[in-house]
């Protein structure tokens, strides 16, 4: 098995219960693995949550921690995927002084070229939203930083996999037992 450190996207389907985030993050912490990003939301199945976690580890480590996740009573299934096996995005938000829109005409070009979306505009500030790969958001941040950004925030990765997730069948099997 490959011992090279790679970026893996870990997807964990879980029950929606209090304390589960603690249980999952403890598995990383105990093995001294840094979490690059973490997103949790409703999944495609009603009542089932999905964690999407990005880590830089070896494939050997990835396999072992998947075992540890699945061992948790309230985890339904866990998977790991490489960059090539997923379709993923992040989202960034920029709060910028409205005056700049008029003082610095370049900003309008940057917005157009980056395919960023204006969420809101008022007298004091406007808010831009940009979804895409990390480097696209970073590039926009660098471009806007020249003019001054009042606030910036970027979400964790959200990802779907190219392969099919067989969670629904698994849960149906339980219900039909």
């Amino acid at each position: 098995m490959n011992k090279e450190i790679k970026t893996f996207t870990i997807s964990i389907y879980t029950e929606n219960n209090i304390g589960l985030l603690n249980r999952i993050s403890a598995i990383f912490q105990r093995r001294h693995i840094n979490i690059e990003s973490l997103t949790t939301s409703q999944s495609e199945i009603e009542g089932v949550n999905r964690f999407v976690i990005v880590v830089n580890i070896t494939e050997v480590q990835a396999k072992k921690i998947i075992g540890q996740f699945e061992k948790q009573v309230e985890v339904i299934r866990a998977y790991y995927h490489t960059e090539e096996e997923t379709i993923y995005q992040e989202s960034g938000m920029f709060k910028i002084k409205s005056d700049l829109l008029f003082e610095e005409p370049q900003i309008q070009n940057i917005i157009k070229e980056s395919n960023a979306r204006i969420v809101t505009v008022n007298k004091e500030f406007f808010v831009l939203e940009k979804s895409g790969r990390r480097n696209e958001i970073e590039s926009l941040r660098r471009d806007l930083n020249v003019f001054g950004i009042m606030q910036f925030v970027r979400s964790g990765r959200i990802a779907v996999t190219k392969e099919e997730m067989k969670i629904t069948e698994m849960l149906l099997a339980f219900n039909n037992q």
């Binding site: 029950e15 249980r23 009542g47 075992g67 009573v73 309230e74 339904i76 219900n175």
Partner: protein, 578 residues
């Protein structure tokens, strides 16, 4: 949590509901789960439950330990000897945190426990209220499952789930934290046992192809060797294992927690693997052509250096927990499932065989170990008493029928090496966590769960003083356990390492001990101290013959070492005899 969708319940007679309060519901749930003994310590946040315990005292016996750690270990001892779920109860805050060592021990040794802790009123959660602690947060990494109950109506379902999770699959500890308002609150009570949780597969389905592949490897192996662990005992697979090793004629060794699953006297039982295990199975791990691991997890104390562990051999791993496969040692074939079913499926596929010359290799190495180590341990000619000769006397007096509850350290290794076991579930010790202070309270739980059995606690002078307060429990509950303290006035195992690896710098390992006999007598426990060899046999005889609890202190040689030994990080085949 929407339990109605995520758990399955026992289908039975529809019970009528009854309006009762949460605390009574807790007791009624315990009774419904067959709990007749539990261990605990009262306090503010759990008082409503104790009030109900008083009312139900005819049906459920609460054992007041002297410390919550004692309650957790007693519940462990209870579970380990009986295979039932042990129950411990404590109040919030320090009561709950004192359970943690026992819970962590149960987690790493796969012991089914349900721990119930009281919690402050739910509106006070997070306010730093008196005796409030985030016990769910604290216990998360050391529990199989945990949950906080804030409403009385949740109690029956949560406790049903707790018992189901604790005992199913690979067992483990569950902690349920119940706020005081949930204990006082009312609910319409109806108890249905839990039979399934949708996100949890306790026992993976056996893949018959892997069983066939395993059988093929076993049938063609020239030098096969089995190492079994506690999974055989937890899976009640002792008979199946015996049938497998006898049919295929495979020498079989055990991990510390696997001890007693097959009688010590069985001709194919080749002893213990691991750091202080037997010479032959350790040495020959690196010479077998097939290593068959059954219900064990390749702990580092078993494998030594992984880089040199059984590299020449194919490995078959029979295991209930998929997370154990390839965790430490790569398995060529992994047979997932319950050990009883897997071994039963394997048996008919095996060819009859006897690996006589291979078995002879184990016997030859045993002869070397006997000459260089065992003889001097159990029949010493030097002046000072050895731990091994004490164990030998206990074997003689109990005829190998006792359950031996050992603590942690040198005496533990000696107890596991030299105890004769005729019956399964006879070796109760803290294997994974190595918790000093385990044995005295665990022996209480073991004796109460199996009053018909002789229970002998073997403890060092260090570990004894870590939970010595439980003598009070033994006295109050009249638990006829036999307590043997092997006193070398040292933290012996640490001292041994200091001698071997730290140039005899005995930093904080020498103990100035109190008069243990007087202490035991202070608790009205019959007590004797032995300092000479000629007194030993009679003293052990008297102890075993006693109908009541009995304390025996044996002053042993101060600086004896336990051998064989695999130095930490060395290869199993580099095991040292001196």
């Amino acid at each position: 949590m929407n339990n109605t969708e995520t758990i399955k319940k026992e289908q039975g007679i529809t019970q009528k509901t009854e309006r009762i309060c949460g605390s009574e519901a807790i007791i009624r749930c315990l009774i419904a789960e067959g709990v007749d003994i539990l261990y605990g310590y009262p306090g503010g946040a759990i008082m409503p439950v104790y009030d109900e315990l008083y009312k139900y005292r005819d049906q459920i016996h609460h054992v007041l330990t002297r410390h919550e750690q004692g309650a957790a270990h007693a519940a462990q001892g209870f579970a380990r000897i009986s295979g039932r779920v042990g129950v411990a109860m404590a109040t919030s805050g320090p009561g709950a945190t004192n359970l943690i060592t026992g819970i962590a021990d149960a987690q790493i040794d796969s012991t089914p426990l349900v721990c119930i802790t009281g919690q402050v009123f739910s509106p006070l959660l997070g306010s730093d209220a008196f005796q409030e602690t985030d016990i769910v947060g604290i216990s998360t990494p050391v529990t199989k499952w945990n949950h906080q109950v804030t409403k009385a109506s949740e109690i029956p379902e949560v406790l049903a789930k707790a018992f189901y999770i604790a005992k199913s699959g690979r067992p483990g500890p569950v902690l349920i934290d119940i706020t005081k308002d949930a204990q006082f609150g009312e609910l319409d009570f109806k108890y249905e046992k839990c039979t399934g949780v949708r996100s949890y597969i306790p026992v993976p389905k056996i893949n018959t192809d892997t069983v066939k592949a395993a059988a093929e490897l076993i049938n063609t192996a020239k030098k096969p060797m089995i190492v079994w662990g506690q999974g055989v005992i937890l899976g009640k697979a002792e008979e199946e294992l015996k049938a497998v090793i006898e049919k295929a004629g495979i020498p079989a060794a055990w991990t510390i927690l696997g001890a007693s699953a097959i009688p010590t006297s069985h001709p194919l039982n080749i002893g213990m693997v691991g750091m202080h295990g037997n010479y032959a199975p350790n040495k020959l791990t690196n010479e077998c052509d097939l290593l068959i691991a059954i219900g064990m997890r390749f702990d580092d104390r078993v494998t030594g250096s992984l880089d040199t562990y059984a590299k020449q051999a194919k490995v078959i791993h029979f295991e209930i927990d998929p997370a154990e496969i390839n965790k430490n040692v790569y398995a060529d074939i992994a047979v997932l499932g319950n050990s009883k079913e897997s071994l039963a499926a394997l048996l008919p596929l095996l060819n009859k065989n006897s690996h006589e010359s291979w078995l002879q290799e184990f016997k030859d190495l045993y002869a070397i170990e006997f000459e260089k180590v065992i003889k001097n341990d159990i029949s010493p000619t030097k002046e000072g008493l050895t731990m091994g000769e004490v164990l030998k006397q206990i074997n003689i007096e109990t005829k190998g029928n006792a359950a031996i509850v050992s603590d942690v350290g040198q005496h533990q290794m000696i107890a596991c090496r030299y105890s004769e076991f005729n019956k399964t579930k006879s070796n109760i010790t803290s294997g994974g966590l190595g918790t000093m202070g385990f044995a005295l309270p665990a022996a209480i739980g073991a004796k109460m769960a199996a009053p018909e059995r002789e229970v002998v606690a073997i403890i060092g002078d260090g570990g004894y003083q870590m939970n010595i307060q439980e003598l009070g429990t033994i006295f109050q509950q009249k638990v006829p356990v036999k307590i043997v303290v092997l006193n070398n006035e040292f933290l012996g195992m640490v001292r041994q390492w200091q001698q071997l690896f730290f140039d005899k710098r005995y930093a904080s390992t020498e103990m100035t001990n109190p008069d243990f006999v007087t202490i035991a007598k202070g608790y009205y426990i019959e007590a004797k101290k032995v300092t000479k060899r000629e007194e030993l046999a009679d003293a052990v005889k008297e102890m075993i013959a006693s109908k009541d609890s009995y304390f025996l202190e044996v002053c042993v040689e101060k600086e004896d070492n336990v051998f064989p030994m695999i130095p930490a990080g060395a290869s199993v085949s580099d095991i040292r005899l001196s």
